[in-house]
Point group: C2
């Protein structure tokens, strides 16, 4: 499958983008039991520091962290029991930013349980601290447990969450435009610090929020943080096509990934956007060995660490909390589940994996324990690179979010073995192109709308 000839990507200059999912507790539900994995990784700043430095050594575009607003007992959506508690992502990334120079930081934050002024502010501050390396992964937060930490008995309906999300993102983006880039004069002699005419109120009044503005944080070197989304449902796709600059997605097959890619790019065009300004990055969980057999052994080893109760809890979480597997034969088929108000797309995907592979409950949780619905690839560095190249060249992806199953050795494997292979094929950078996340991802600088009115200035998109 490896192409030794000059890749068409090299001619076009199109390069694979790479994000790294690096939760200190491990990606695989039983990662923390791996001999190499620091058992206290989820709550160790030192472990996260090492992960960031390794990702930067691998020239990753960004370090990504998911987030939840409740404790998930047992193995849940975002991790096994090792991830019951850990850092809040924006504070953690703020701490890692000064220890790195080029790596981007994409933190998850909720549109349902935060106020837009606070969201806009913490991401703008991270963006300023990091010199323009912040990204916001916009999520609506789909668990009952989170709702109960925020004055509710049960979560808002899926559609209401997305309605609120759309408005929240709009307000945040408007707040990020409070200051024009040349608003600050800082003229000591005259005492004129800023140009009042270049500071703008937001004056938003909507169904969910009323926010006057301006924000009390200026724009950063990248204009504003990169907007990232992961929703796969109709509501999610529609919101992403309108507002996202990067989309995380989960696919089991090349053809469904291609269909998703085409769908989103088309939606972006319909929304009046340049489709190249919306990068689609499916998740890939790689088990890498010198031989295919060695890679397979690594997979089996990690699988052997999964406790039944963690596997069951994981399936429950991945199907939106509506599936009670108590009393079912783990070596029998997955029972039907009622529809969820949680993550609808993830629920459908897990069901699809079970059906296609005729998996028992046990086989299902073993298979999704690492990738959680994302693609799992088991093989040599060349085979992993082949898979990435094929998806990239056949327009199923603009890049990938790599989910190393455990740390630190599985991340090292990718950085030391797969990255050089991608570089040899001309598919991945050999040094960072820019200093901001936006520059490295090849995304345009968001010109301030007030500057567009000025003569001679062209919009980037």
């Amino acid at each position: 499958m490896t192409t030794q000839t000059l890749s068409p990507n090299k001619v076009r200059g199109r390069q694979i983008r790479l994000g790294a999912f690096l939760p200190g507790g491990g990606q695989h539900v039983a990662a923390w039991r791996h001999p190499d994995h620091p058992a206290d990784g989820a709550t160790s700043f030192e472990v996260h520091r090492q992960l960031a430095l390794t990702a930067e050594r691998g020239l990753f575009d960004a370090y990504f962290l998911a987030d939840g607003l409740a404790v998930s007992f047992g193995g849940a959506t975002e991790g096994g029991s090792a991830r019951i508690a850990g850092f809040e992502p924006v504070t953690l990334f703020s701490a890692l930013a000064p220890l790195t120079t080029h790596l981007g930081f994409i933190a998850t934050a909720s549109t349902t349980y935060e106020e837009p002024y606070n969201t806009a502010r913490k991401f703008a501050s991270l963006d300023l601290i990091s010199g323009g390396r912040a990204g916001w992964n916009v999520v609506t937060t789909a668990t009952e447990a989170a709702a109960q930490n925020f004055n509710l008995d049960q979560q808002l309906p899926h559609a209401t969450r997305y309605e609120r999300a759309r408005e929240h993102v709009g307000v945040v983006k408007a707040l990020w435009e409070s200051f024009e880039d040349d608003a600050f004069l800082r003229h000591k002699e005259s005492g004129v610090f800023y140009d009042r005419s270049k500071v703008h109120a937001t004056d938003h009044v909507g169904a969910h929020f009323k926010v006057k503005g301006p924000l009390n944080v200026p724009r950063s070197p990248q204009g504003h943080p990169v907007i990232v989304q992961a929703g796969q449902s109709e509501d999610g796709r529609s919101l992403a096509a309108e507002t996202a600059e990067v989309i995380f997605t989960a696919h089991q097959h090349l053809d469904t990934a291609q269909a998703f890619y085409r769908d989103i790019k088309t939606r972006a065009i319909v929304a009046g956007r340049d489709p190249d300004h919306l990068l689609i990055m499916p998740g890939v969980s790689p088990f890498i060995g010198r031989t295919e057999a060695e890679a397979r052994e690594k997979y089996e080893q990690l699988t052997s660490y999964i406790l039944e109760k963690d596997g069951i809890a994981l399936l429950n979480a991945l199907t939106g909390g509506t599936l009670d597997l108590a009393g079912f034969d783990l070596d029998g088929p997955l029972p039907p589940a009622p529809p969820t108000e949680g993550m609808k797309s993830r629920q459908a995907l897990i069901r699809q994996i079970a059906d296609e592979n005729r998996f028992t409950i046990r086989e299902l949780y073993q298979w999704v324990a690492s990738a959680r619905g994302h693609y799992t690839v088991i093989g040599t560095p060349e085979q992993v690179a082949d898979m990435l190249q094929e998806w990239f060249e056949k327009e199923a992806a603009d890049g990938f979010n790599i989910l190393p199953p455990w740390f630190l050795t599985a991340l090292d494997d990718f950085v030391d073995l797969v990255v050089p292979e991608l570089q040899r094929r001309g598919l991945f950078r050999t040094r960072y192109e820019g200093r901001t996340l936006r520059e490295n991802l090849g995304l345009p600088f968001p010109i301030h709308p007030r500057s567009l009115a000025a003569p001679g200035v062209q919009a980037a998109e």
Copy 2:
């Protein structure tokens, strides 16, 4: 005034605690116009890094940052026009924590415009990142502009804000007790990561909040962040006596500071607390010269940089936004102001300063431009140390929050000239006693309430 004999404090071992107010934009309303002050200090991470390193060199207990949730045009409560925009404190302190080893970080956050789960989480995360060096300055946020950024037309009444604050602090403290200190087993062989019986729900249902818990961040090496407050009103004092571990306060006279000190310590005793576990730290803005004349010159220099409009805006902000000075003679007396729903105590203090000194409007804003109601001391290092020693020994203070008027040289002056003088007098540490903020402040480790039930364990207070 200097005592060369062995201080009674040395015998008792009582030591002065020092916090540093270091907003990058400068403390004095015109600080940014000072030749030494970096004009972009408010938005420069490098400036804040230098401030943190200098404070740590000076063995300060903590770096403190105030906060507001709106842009303040002109000179406002928390700074002059140079502070119109800057970092969000918790993200900034997260970034500074790994660059320092002993310095504490006390960040301000609002009980009115945040949810307790988010507050608890970000401070617990900072505490974990810093290895137990975080403090939370609890504020109710008293501006109309902030209210209008959070879905309101005008702010909640003073009493309602404090009611909400009391409940908010209670929920946050309960959330910080979600995990017992030995909840994590991380036993790779058995796969038992944590002890479920040592993870506790909060199950709070109150007038303002309903929060189930547990929090998804564990306790830090100092148990939980230090609770700090600054309210001077009846509501503020009452809340502080019940819950605070450090109180910031503003006084113009030794006797009023002593009265406040006695009042708070008495209230603490009435609330069943050890009064030594509540540290009272008035603010002091020092102008330091080799001679008194040189110090006075520094004061006059900075005063000369104040623009009239910034001075007026500052007075308006300090009196709670109810005082419109437009049209008044700046060289005439301060007109009466209607009562505020903002910071009541600060409004009264500013009025008191005007009356006692028979200040004109201009003289008033010049005087409060640096200290904003805190004490201003102008003199030699010995004279500054004398003032601190007197207030400390006469039980007006357990320590001080130092407000250097501009950066970096005014902070350097305090660190290089006043700190050694305090050390010579046996009043201040010559090295950090501990690694956590709590250890350095001499505050007890908050033993988890569930551990208190165990036989043989004594409560710290």
